[in-house]
Symmetry: C2
Subunit: 506 residues, 2 copies
């Protein structure tokens, strides 16, 4: 069923001679199927076709696009176990996660469809004419939003479904009226091809223009770089590393016509735990965080990688408890040998910095499995060493023992931008938390009280993004219905005859 | 009353030795007063102070900031004739325009104040908890918006009040909760200093933190470049040339932490006139466009610099009529000798391109006065020559005689991004305009029917911006209440106790 071919609109195409295979990290072996990297000519054909499709697709009604999105969800479901099995073989993630992520992906598509059907998602504004206004008459002005044009979406390694081929970026861009070209993630090219098939089927069934969606395979950086440089591409969605995201951001901004590039990148998601919480509920929070740190082998962008607390007996007890609990959890498989290797390298780099002390006992694990760990360091050492601020992608967390509240606040203020920040405290301490909440809110996109940062709800009040480098544009969310705002822009109609106005302005 | 000093918060400061004087273009002579360019140390002091002020200013209530904005408007009014006289001496613009622009500036400030008092300008979203949801409980999530941090505003040459020191960028940034540092425009440094005085007085009267506003003089590019590179600056507003805007945009994006830079830049504001309109109302539109092209010596970013029509007898008559009418209008003074000189150079460059024919008789004008002109060229020649697509800042317009509708559509599709596009047609032609409206809407931020593009209403449905290079981010407007959205970002609060929530989320 997997052919390894690219989709240029509804046409399968495989003109290239660069062939690659995905890896089953559980078996530490290549999967059977091959994928063929898109050639320069194929890339250009896809953007050309997307541009042509845009001329039609931008004229579709909200209801037509809603039907398209619902049909994509249906077609993904119809892929059944085939999709789930390939997903597991290409990610090392368990069947339950595959089912859950597929459900979330369909939910996202259907949520955007529902929003399109429900009415004023565009936030239109209408100011009627005042012909007798002095000194000058006022013209009739009406503002709506229109799609930017073809959007390139980069699949992400850690969410082969929910943040990839038909994930949040694709769903929101298609909802907005933008054709999408997916640069498929090389670690799950087979999963990507199956989902692309579902999208193409849905497009055909609902009469969408050919080119509204294309899927290009790539194993290196060339396909992505060429796509971001293409003048027919008008915006980009990316989820991945800071290095990769920043490189693409720079390309997007150096174009003769710069375009928005939304990169959701690294985050260490600081957690502040108060003395009261450590004293009263230290055991409970150690349990919760052992779970949150190891969830999905720690391969979530909201993984809690930094725990900040002021030194106290409670903190000593908490860190011992967390170190004990975390190693009792079964180790799990990581997404790819390269991800496991990067995890080991970074964990060792952080752990070997001056002043860093490992807290958990070293684990023996199978190939590609993650050996979860926690370590600690003093606030002074943390402040002096930027290497300790970097994300260790995997089940690792660093506890920072602060000398006092002032040092805690200084650390928060000096943190790089983050997706989330969490505060763990007792109700009796609320009035002492104002400064911490204020400083933390300046550094994060979402702030959580007495919970864990992992788990990102898909709803209008969700914000998934944050100050750089958590994302390249903190003014937009990558998750939830407002994600559509990344792909549209305002336009005002002045003194326009009703007949020529867009439906929503009539 | 003008001291030439910088304002670093409420402190006057003039440590530098670079001194410059503004020019009265009517007299073609320097004005009496001097301004002292800010030094590196003064720039750094201003950003440091803005950063400190931000910690307080971000905590002010909407009503406190509303009072501040209203007080700025009051203080500007209290400057009375002193301000109007300096404005005229530094811009060559007439007293009526000075009064009108001052009125608009106060109206903008008061409009933002009213919006702050009126309620939910932040577009908050609240999703309450569903503790018994299966398979997982849903947490309480509430989203609001917070200010980005200190904002740098570059004063613009052509609006010494409405787009400068206390103009739309400053008003919207202060409304959002961002301290503002103005890089004063060297052509009207005196006007800038007077307005800065008003802002500082208003800040003191309403108890705003010192550093909420600073005003720095500069006659070169160094002050602006240093400000945009400063890590404590979190966003930038700019109105001016494509060259200047793009240079600053590149700096903003190459920072270790890139920041949003909103540059509203060049535009030639295409106008499409149909055969029917030329036949039935050619005289009327020639009259209207002779006025619109020469309004304010053509020094508006919405000046109609390009008129597109399919060849017809009506077009020949229209162009003769426009050429006759435009030279009958009294020539007016431009803002500055440099602007007059750039106008002459560009007008001559465009007029001397292959195939371009001048339509109006050459005018003899006084020094710094604009000799308005119209020229024509064929659609073929226009398509082949990018030099004809550039903005000629001043009272000049190029008529493009298209061979047919297909060529007209091709020209529209190949135009660079524009602030506005206008369609002039008869009611009987509406059904033939669909394609033109569709293509034009893709290239512009505002589309006008049977009117002129000059005159930008300040209201919620106004969009002032457009695809690059009209602006660097088409997703935001520089005029109207939604301009505040440039300076805020979303943040979600998850499971937060009411006591710690921002007011608007309680």
């Amino acid at each position: 069923m997997i052919t390894g071919q690219n989709f240029i609109g509804s046409k399968r195409s495989a003109k290239g001679d660069v062939v690659f295979r995905t890896i089953n990290p559980e078996l530490n072996a290549h999967n059977d199927w091959e994928s063929i990297e898109a050639t320069t000519a194929e890339i250009d054909e896809a953007t050309e076709l997307a541009w042509k499709a845009f001329k039609e697709y931008r004229k579709t009604s909200d209801h037509e696009r809603a039907d398209f999105l619902d049909a994509i969800a249906d077609e993904i479901e119809l892929l059944g176990d085939t999709l789930l099995n390939v997903y597991c073989k290409e990610s090392g993630l368990p069947q339950g996660r595959a089912t859950g992520e597929r459900g979330r992906t369909m939910f996202q598509l259907r949520s955007f469809a529902e929003m399109l059907r429900n009415g004023n998602w565009r936030d239109v504004a209408i100011d009627e004419a005042i012909p007798d206004r002095k000194p000058l008459p006022k013209a009739d002005l009406r503002k709506t939003y229109i799609p930017l044009g073809p959007v390139v979406v980069f699949g992400s390694s850690n969410f082969p479904l929910a943040y990839s081929t038909a994930g949040g970026d694709t769903a929101s861009a298609l909802a907005a009226g933008c054709p999408v070209i997916v640069k498929s993630h090389p670690m799950h090219a087979g999963t990507g091809e199956l989902v692309a098939m579902a999208i193409i089927k849905a497009a055909e069934k609902t009469g969408m223009p050919n080119g509204v969606f294309s899927n290009l395979n790539s194993n290196g950086i060339e396909v992505g770089v060429r796509l971001v440089n293409d003048p027919k591409v008008k915006a980009v969605g990316f989820t991945g590393s800071i290095k990769g995201g920043r490189a693409l951001f720079d390309i997007a901004n150096r174009r003769p016509e710069p375009i928005p590039l939304f990169a959701e990148m690294g985050s260490i998601n600081p957690v502040v735990i108060t003395e009261g919480a450590l004293k009263e509920n230290g055991e409970k929070w150690a349990e919760a965080y052992a779970g949150s740190i190891t969830l999905g082998a720690g391969q979530f962008c909201t993984n809690p990688g930094l725990i900040l607390a002021i030194e106290s007996d409670g903190l000593d007890k908490f860190k011992r408890s967390l170190a004990e609990k975390i190693v009792k959890i079964d180790a799990t498989c990581m997404l790819h040998p390269n991800i496991k290797s990067a995890y080991s390298t970074l964990k060792n780099e952080v752990s070997s910095q001056v002043g860093v002390k490992s807290l958990s006992i070293p684990l023996e694990v199978e190939a590609n499995y993650a050996d979860q760990a926690v370590a600690e360091v003093s606030g002074d050492a943390f402040l002096q060493n930027p290497k300790l601020h970097q994300e260790v992608f995997g089940p690792f967390s660093l506890i920072v023992k602060c000398a006092n509240e002032q040092q805690l606040l200084t650390i928060i203020e000096q943190l790089e931008g983050q997706l989330t920040g969490t505060i763990i405290a007792e109700d009796s301490e609320l009035s002492e938390l104002t400064d911490i909440v204020d400083e933390l809110s300046q550094r994060v996109g979402r702030i959580i009280f007495n919970g864990v940062p992992t788990g990102v709800e898909v709803c209008p009040s969700m914000n998934h993004g944050g100050p750089y480098p958590a994302s390249t544009d903190a003014r937009f969310t990558a998750v939830g219905l407002h994600a559509i705002k990344r792909w549209i822009r305002p336009i005002s109609y002045q003194s326009f005859p009703g007949k020529l106005l867009p439906e929503e302005l009539k």
